[in-house]
Structure formats: C-alpha cells, structure tokens
C-alpha cells in the first residue's frame, strides 16, 4: 500500500472523530512529489481558516505518528462552494462532494 493510499485511509478514519459534516478526502502528489491533502466539508463554511486547520491538526496529533505527520506537507481545507469556485463543477463532482448551494 502506498503512502498516499495509507494516508487517505487514515484521514478518512480520523475525520470520523470530528464534527465535520460529510468530509471528503483526497491525498495527492504535488508538483514536486510532496504529499498534499485536500479535505472538503460544508462545515468549513462556518469556520475561519484557523478553526478548520486546527480541527484537522488536532486529530493528526491524536492519531498520526510523527513520521506520518511529516509526510503531509499541507492540508487544504475547503467547503464544496469554495472548491467549486476555484476548480469548477466537474472537478467537484469528481471529488464526490456536493455543493449545498445548488
């Protein structure tokens, strides 16, 4: 199992411990093969960037060891609305998330 697959499973598991609504996770390689994570949840619409990030980082500190924390270079935390605005409706559909505004 690759780090990407393993981390996706770990994120899916740990996000169940948060109050985030229907969180969707994508773990992917950045341009320089660094591991990036994107989490979508409509709950993020009600949170500022710090609240979103701290919600996820608290779970990472509880459930990930230092090696796995180090592997993750950045976590993008977006609401489906923001993601659609940045990357379009089709990309949002690929993600399996739904924009509650529609």
């Amino acid at each position: 199992v690759s780090d990407i697959e393993r981390l996706r499973a770990k994120f899916e598991e740990t996000l169940r411990q948060t109050p985030l609504l229907d969180p969707r996770v994508e773990v992917f390689e950045g341009d320089f093969h660094e591991i990036l994570v994107r989490i979508l949840s409509s709950s993020f619409d009600l949170m500022d960037e710090n609240e979103r990030q701290v919600t996820v980082w608290k779970r990472m500190f509880a459930d990930f060891d230092s090696r796995d924390r180090k592997l993750v270079k950045f976590i993008f935390t977006d609401s489906p609305t923001e993601f659609e605005e940045a990357f379009g409706k089709e990309r949002l559909a690929e993600f399996g998330a739904v924009n509650p505004v529609h």
């Binding site: 341009d31 710090n50 924390r69 270079k73 940045a86 990357f87 990309r91």
Partner: protein, 214 residues
C-alpha cells in the same frame, strides 16, 4: 539569559505585527476582497512569524545545548570540519582548536550547527527540546497544548515560502492563490506568543548551566 531571549523574541514579534499593521494601512477604505499583492503582506508576516519562532528555538538551543548530555553532543558536527563529521582527531584539534578550551570548542560547534538548522514542524521543535534537556512530560504538555496550533502556522508558512501559497490541485497547471485573512494571522501571532510563554517557563526548569551557576 532568559530576559534577553524574551526581549529579542518580543522585538521579532513586533516586526511581524508591523507587517500586519502595514496591511491594515494599505487596505483601509478598500472595498471587497483584497488583491493578492496586498494580502502578500500577511503572507510575509507568516514567514516572519515562523522566522521569529525559529530564532527563538535557536537562541534557546545556543544557551542550553552546550550543556547537553554527551550522547546529544555526539550528533553535533565539530566546528572547522566538513559540516557533517562528528569524529574529531587530535590532528583536527591542533588544526582548528589549538589553545581553545573544551567548552569553547563545544560552544562554537553548537553555534555552527544551529546556524544551519531549521524547524519546519512541531515534531522538530519537540526533538530539539528533548536534546536541550526538556523532560518528556514537559514536552508532552507543550505539544498537547500547542502542537496543532504550531503545525497549522508552520505548514502554511511552508506553503507560502515554497509554493507561493498556490491553491494546488492534483495535476500540474495554473492555480490561484489561497485566501489569507488578517484575523487568522493575528490568531497565529497570539498562539506562538502563548507557546513562547509556556516554553520559557519549561526552559527555566532545565537544570542550571555551569556558566549561569558561576
């Protein structure tokens, strides 16, 4: 030593706050979402904030690391070497350190080592704290309280400094810039300030170095 470190850190944090104030000044009266060029001042503040944190860690380490346990100092390359080697021969001593006290050799080596060090995530900070003699329970206390907050600010700093804060998606391509708010930067400044308060408290408890005792 501690008052000097506190004052230096305070001065560095003031520089971060000045950048936020500059952002306030150039965006005052501007309607709508700030332009990327304007919010870049906030990104610069995040980079400075991380630099202030790294400077604090380095200064504390420069104070405490020379008195660290021998097994910790064994990992520090000696000054005058190739920057990697930790094995020192009598010839190396004669070449680079003749006439110096053992303490001076250790001190100079530690400073050279710290000059090249960086702390990019909370675990690297925790590792340094262990090296300087901070107890496991103190490190756990600090990381339980501050680890996630540090991680949030440090990872964003990495994204800003190495990826110009691009809103990356899978696959190469042109991506926009992530938004950055003044309120969030101010929270991160407060968080790192609070971490420094707790850190100073814990560092004070580390056994007194011989220099301070004299």
């Amino acid at each position: 030593m501690l008052p000097i470190l506190k004052e230096r850190f305070r001065g560095n944090i003031e520089r971060v706050k000045t950048q936020v104030a500059l952002y306030e000044w150039i965006t005052s009266g501007v309607r709508g979402r700030p332009r990327v060029a304007e919010s870049d001042l906030l990104r610069a503040a995040v980079v400075f904030l991380h630099a202030a944190l790294e400077d604090l860690m380095r200064e504390i380490a420069a104070w405490k690391l020379p008195d660290a346990r021998p097994e910790v100092l064994s990992l520090v390359p000696y000054a005058g070497g190739d920057g990697r080697s930790t094995k020192l021969s009598l010839g190396d001593l004669a070449k680079h350190h003749r006439g110096m006290s053992v303490r001076d050799v250790i001190f100079e080596s530690v400073l050279n080592h710290l000059d090249k060090s960086s702390y990019n995530d909370p675990d690297e900070i925790a590792r340094l704290l262990a090296q300087i003699g901070c107890g496991a329970s103190a490190i756990k206390r600090l990381m339980d309280r501050h680890g996630p907050n540090l991680g949030v600010a440090m990872s964003r700093r990495h994204q800003i400094a190495h990826r110009l804060d691009r809103n990356e998606d899978s696959g190469r391509g042109q991506h926009g810039t992530r938004s950055m708010s003044k309120k969030v930067v101010q929270i991160w400044i407060e968080n790192i300030d609070r971490f420094s308060d707790d850190l100073f408290e814990e560092v004070e408890k580390i056994s007194v170095s011989p220099e301070d005792a004299s």
